[in-house]
């Protein structure tokens, strides 16, 4: 843990706090994920590294409340997400978490603008944070992420992968959610576009002091993040603590 990370732990309340988390899929008898203690702090950007099948996406699913652990607790922004009803978890996710996938991020038959403003229809709270109209905010985000304005009304299936990832980032950022969860968002981009994309994403996230949690198997982006953890390291390290 770097000095900067140590500062987070002392100064801030965690946005994600995991205690003795144990999870297994229904089809298996052994726990596939076992995290005794793990915290992520407000405004922090964290990269979780690990090979395919190590449980990175499962952890993101749990942070987003899409799956719940069998044992342990998981608090997001101080709320015990495990104890919520499913509909409360859905609402909580809509209000506080923006998501970017690896690829196939967008509703392919909708326009870029419609994709960006879609989360607002599930979260009045995020809509309240938008200054101006939804569309104005979507345009602002798309422009700041480097999307040409002539692509705003284009069907996203007709955009390049890089453009699609920027639209996905704008969708995750709209309404200033406290957390952005990104599941290998740069894996389909070449190295120059990868850096540019992350730079733009981080710039926009820093405006609202948004926490970024990203998982990847690619270690080349480490320099962009406040904290970098390998999944096995995380488990080992957290087991030791």
């Amino acid at each position: 843990m770097t000095d900067q990370n140590a500062q987070y732990t002392t100064r801030c309340e965690p946005v994600v706090a995991i205690e003795n988390l144990q999870f297994k899929w229904q089809s298996t008898s052994l726990f596939s994920l076992n995290i005794p203690n793990f915290r992520i702090y407000r405004g922090e950007s964290i990269l979780l590294l690990g090979p395919s099948g190590c449980g990175k996406s499962t952890l993101l699913n749990m942070i987003c409340g899409l799956v719940t652990p069998q044992l342990g607790s998981i608090h997001i922004l101080g709320e015990n997400i495990k104890s919520m009803f499913p509909h409360q978890r859905d609402r909580f996710r809509a209000d506080h978490i923006g998501v970017i996938f690896q690829m196939f991020n967008l509703i392919s038959f909708s326009t870029a603008i419609d994709n960006v403003i879609l989360p607002l229809s599930f979260s009045p709270r995020r809509r309240e944070r938008v200054l101006g109209t939804d569309i104005e905010e979507a345009k602002r985000l798309l422009t700041s992420l480097g999307v040409d304005d002539n692509l705003f009304r284009t069907q996203t299936s007709k955009l390049s992968v890089g453009q699609q990832q920027r639209v996905a980032a704008a969708r995750a950022l709209i309404g200033e959610p406290e957390i952005i969860v990104a599941d290998e968002p740069t894996s389909a981009l070449d190295s120059s576009r990868r850096d540019e994309f992350l730079s733009l994403l981080f710039n926009q996230a820093s405006r609202a002091n948004t926490t970024i949690i990203m998982v990847s198997h690619d270690e080349t982006n480490q320099h962009c993040f406040d904290r970098v953890l390998k999944m096995e390291e995380l488990l080992e390290k957290e087991n030791q603590s």
Binding site: S57, L66, R93, I117, D183, E184, H217
Partner: protein, 420 residues
């Protein structure tokens, strides 16, 4: 608003399959409405076979039998009424008009009806619509005949053609009145009633052509035609029945009671409207069959729609995963499925209505000409509206199947897994 746009663009992205589903529902809705229109119109046309006639009088028999042989020309009379009785009845103070009917002969499978000129004046069908002549005029001479439109079109008759009447109503014409052919002097407009399939002649001519007949056989050669045609003293001895119009409808039951209790002869008086309803209820099995067929067609189209939505669910897992990730609950995703199906059904219903009504506007007169079924094009009836609302509700209920499937998929899928 954005959800509506999402719905619209989702539907647009699968436009071919959606259009096929809409077309399927459209056809089934138009079939249901068409069958319902046809059913009610056929019933109306059937019950409108005879109108403005208050009472039908015949020899003592059942309601339906009397109706069948006097109005529809089906079956035979159990007995005849004497001319004296007919005259007695027609002179009753409550009787406004009476038309004698004499049946028993035929022409190439079509019934021959002996009657008077008053038949063309007083007979009404379909909401008191009078008979109209397409060509010619009512019979004036003894061996004149007025034929119905189907007789003319089927046998290719025109004014001035000679036709020979056969004794009896058998299909094989053995005993022809070929010594006294009739001349076509009038062809009636199509009515959609048994009148179209009838050869109308005067009562006198019926008596005239049977002058030297006994027991269905001719006794000797008839006199010269000219002699018969100038004969005016042929007075009928018997007739088959009579149509009666009363001065006041209040007197109907009193008159019916009088006829049923007629002292000199065993008679029956029936109310045509009541008898027609009784007859229709006997053949309502066909009605039920039509409804059953249209129900099956509707259910088939719904199965098609469910299959279409279910088949696309796998392709749409990604779409559902994205919606879940941005905060849509499984119920919201299921709701989108139901909304999508509802829109498809609604589009199918609207296009189905448009199709059938446009079809009716274009083909109504042709249907009337061909089948005699006059279809009313008005605001949809209560039954049609109930049927359509029923279709919409059942369709929405059917959409719960793919919606439930979508719900399960979105609950179990979580994120679209791309990494470990």
């Amino acid at each position: 608003m954005i959800k509506l746009r999402l719905l619209a663009s989702s539907i647009y992205s699968r436009k071919i399959t959606v259009l096929l589903s809409i077309a399927s529902i459209c056809i089934s809705v138009s079939l249901v409405i068409g069958i319902e229109k046809l059913r009610t119109s056929a019933k109306k046309s059937f019950t409108n076979t005879i109108s403005a006639t208050d009472v039908i009088v015949g020899a003592r028999s059942g309601n339906i039998q009397l109706l069948l042989y006097t109005v529809f020309g089906i079956g035979n009379a159990t007995n005849n009424i004497t001319w004296t009785t007919y005259k007695d009845i027609s002179k009753r103070p409550e009787v406004e008009w009476a038309i004698p009917l004499s049946l028993g002969d035929s022409h190439k499978g079509f019934r021959v009806l002996g009657t008077t000129k008053e038949f063309f004046e007083h007979y009404r069908y379909r909401q008191k619509k009078p008979l109209a002549f397409k060509y010619g005029k009512p019979f004036a001479k003894t061996l004149d005949t007025v034929i119905g439109s189907d007789v003319a079109s089927t046998l290719g008759y025109n004014l001035g053609d000679a036709i020979v009447v056969s004794h009896g109503i058998g299909k094989i014409e053995t005993n022809l009145h070929d010594d006294q052919p009739f001349t076509v002097v009038g062809i009636l407009q199509k009515t959609g009633t048994p009148v179209d399939k009838t050869v109308h002649v005067s009562l006198q001519s019926i008596e005239a052509i049977h002058k030297n007949w006994k027991g269905g056989r001719r006794l000797k050669a008839q006199d010269a035609l000219g002699e018969v045609q100038t004969e005016t003293k042929f007075v009928p001895r018997e007739i088959t029945g009579a149509l009666v119009g009363l001065k006041s409808r209040i007197q109907i039951f009193q008159f019916q009671r009088y006829i049923n209790n007629y002292r000199h002869e065993a008679l029956s008086a029936i109310l045509p409207g009541v008898a027609l309803q009784e007859l229709w209820s006997l053949i309502s099995t066909a009605e039920t069959a039509l409804i059953a067929i249209s129900t099956i067609v509707v259910m088939t189209s719904f199965l098609g729609m469910i299959t279409m939505i279910l088949a696309t669910l796998n392709e749409r897992r990604r779409e559902m995963a994205i919606l879940r990730a941005i905060g849509a609950s499984p119920a919201a995703i299921a709701g989108l499925m139901i909304a999508e199906a509802s829109l498809i059904i609604l589009a199918g219903i609207i296009s189905g209505f448009t199709l059938i009504y446009a079809g009716l506007v274009v083909f109504r007169s042709t249907i009337d000409q061909i089948s005699g079924i006059y279809i009313d094009i008005g605001f949809p009836t209560d039954t049609e509206l109930f049927a359509v609302i029923g279709i919409f509700i059942i369709g929405c209920l059917c959409s719960l199947i793919p919606a439930w499937r979508a719900y399960l998929i979105s609950v179990t899928n979580g994120f679209h897994s791309q990494t470990g």
